[in-house]
């Protein structure tokens, strides 16, 4: 079942990951769980860094989580993070905060969707 093909603008598109891992359920679930663990941990850290206005450390975190959105096929968010990292100017705290809010919301939705996929499609 490839629900992503039916929902082209969805938050998650696992086509590439499935192709790459040859539909190996165990491997796919492992990567999805890695996404969940990495992004949830990073979101908490990034919120603290925003509050502390430690932009350099925040940039490093953005760089670290950026590829994960590519793995689960969210090209739009992945590109947004890349632009965010690329345009890093230093003290543009408002922009960072706006990005953080959007990122957190979308990550939360992605995480819920991934939990659903893991449960419904892979029975785990």
């Amino acid at each position: 079942v490839d629900i992503d093909l039916q929902e082209p603008n969805s938050l998650v598109n696992l086509k590439s990951l499935r192709n790459l891992l040859k539909d190996n359920a165990a491997n796919i679930v492992e990567i999805l769980r890695m996404f969940i663990a990495e992004t949830s941990g990073s979101m908490a850290q990034m919120k603290v860094l925003c509050q502390q206005q430690d932009w350099d450390a925040l940039k490093l975190r953005v760089h670290a989580i950026k590829p994960y959105y590519g793995y689960i096929g969210n090209a739009e968010l992945s590109q947004k993070l890349e632009d965010w990292e690329g345009d890093w100017g230093g003290n543009r705290s408002v922009d960072h905060l706006e990005m953080m809010i959007e990122l957190e919301e979308k990550t939360k939705a992605i995480t819920e969707r991934l939990h659903q996929i893991i449960k419904e499609e892979y029975g785990r």
């Binding site: 590439s16 990951l17 790459l20 891992l21 040859k22 190996n24 491997n27 492992e30 990567i31 890695m34 996404f35 990495e38 490093l60 760089h63 670290a64 950026k66 590829p67 994960y68 590519g70 793995y71 096929g73 090209a75 992945s78 890349e82 690329g86």
Partner: protein
């Protein structure tokens, strides 16, 4: 051999996994701080990334440590550009002996050029569909082959340079007008020129004036791909000392199509002197030998002459006695005349000289033969 071939063949037909087990794989060090990417590499190692096996390092420091611990283990390094303790450019000189491929998420020409200058062998963009993973084996093979070719070329270059610098011959690379582009150190060591001389002199300035026309004609008649060998030419050292050289030369084209001449000179001055000395000595020796032989022949001749005279004198005496005591009574008894006896004596006397000469010649020939002088 047949057994091994059979195992390999059977493995390939029994399935991909078995074949992978049997064939030794090439170790690659992958420096990546992204845990998910490392896991995915591991997951597709036996399929997409075959025939390579990956060891992972999360940081540059860990990579340096791994390379230090296992200096011969890895055939190439694959590295993410941004790493927790630095960037891929900091890999040098840690991994400068290995081919390096850098993975970046965006294509940046300036960064690519800068990294290439540092020694990075290739780039790969981590596209969002992760198609880059499929390209990795081909890229790795390409950089390993390229590095091997470079290493071999460098090794060959070192060998040729060693030969060029340590050869006993003078080796010159010349331009069309015989200007010296490059010379082996022997030109300075043997002929006493220094580097400043090399800037101002052409090869033709060093050729002895008497040999200049001939040698220039030889050089100018050379076409690319042609050569001449073992031509004797005299060169002048810095102090004017004359060196006899055995020269060879060949003309070739450089990659850009520009012709150059490779000239090799072997200093044979001492050899030529020795050869001349030996030649003079041989002539002198032959002359002395001849004199000794002639003296010996004269000596033998004198000895033989005396001996043959003695033989002839003895024979003459015998004939005289025979004619006196035997022939004379014989002729008297049967003819009543002594004229026959006198005739016989006269014949004997007339024959003595030729007989003496014959005996002398025969004895001399025997003596010469005995002495090995014939």
């Amino acid at each position: 051999m047949e057994g091994n071939a059979a195992v390999a063949s059977r493995s390939l037909y029994q399935g991909e996994d078995l074949a992978i087990e049997k064939i030794p794989r090439t170790h690659i060090l992958y420096i990546e701080d992204d845990q998910a990417m490392r896991r995915m590499f591991h997951m597709v190692e036996s399929t997409l990334l075959y025939p390579y096996t990956f060891s992972f390092a999360e940081t540059l420091a860990a990579a340096a440590n791994e390379l230090k611990l296992h200096p011969k283990k890895f055939s190439a390094v694959l590295s993410d550009y941004h790493l927790p303790d630095g960037e891929a450019k900091d890999l040098f000189p840690i991994a400068s002996h290995l081919p390096v491929i850098v993975l970046t998420s965006t294509y940046d020409v300036d960064l690519a050029v800068a990294l290439m200058k540092l020694g990075v062998d290739d780039f790969l963009i981590k596209d969002k569909d992760m198609e880059f993973l499929r390209l990795i084996p081909e890229k790795i093979k390409s950089v390993i082959d390229k590095k091997s070719a470079q290493t071999e070329a460098a090794r060959q270059e070192r060998r040729f340079r060693d030969l060029f610098e340590n050869s006993n011959d003078i080796i010159l690379y010349l331009g069309e007008d015989c200007t010296i582009w490059q010379s082996s150190p022997q030109l300075m060591q043997i002929m006493g020129y220094d580097k400043r001389d090399m800037d101002n002199l052409t090869l033709l300035d060093m050729v002895h004036p008497e040999d200049l026309d001939c040698y220039t004609a030889l050089l100018t008649s050379l076409n690319p791909g042609k050569k001449f060998d073992d031509v004797e030419v005299r060169l002048l050292g810095k102090t004017g000392k004359v060196f006899i050289m055995e020269a060879s030369a060949s003309k070739s084209l450089m990659d850009e199509g520009m012709p150059y001449t490779r000239a090799i000179f072997r200093d044979v001055t001492e050899r030529k002197k020795s050869e001349q000395l030996i030649k003079t000595q041989n002539i002198s020796l032959a002359e002395k030998n001849k004199q000794v032989n002639e003296g010996l022949i004269k000596l033998r001749k004198a000895t033989v002459s005396r001996r043959s005279a003695a033989i002839v004198a003895t024979l003459a005496l015998i004939f005289f006695l025979v004619s006196e005591f035997w022939l004379e009574p014989f002729f008297n008894k049967y003819s009543g005349s002594t004229h026959y006896n006198w005739s016989f004596k006269i014949i004997i006397v007339l024959l003595l000289k030729p007989f003496d000469m014959l005996i002398e010649r025969w004895l001399l020939r025997q003596k010469i033969k005995e002495a090995g002088l014939a």
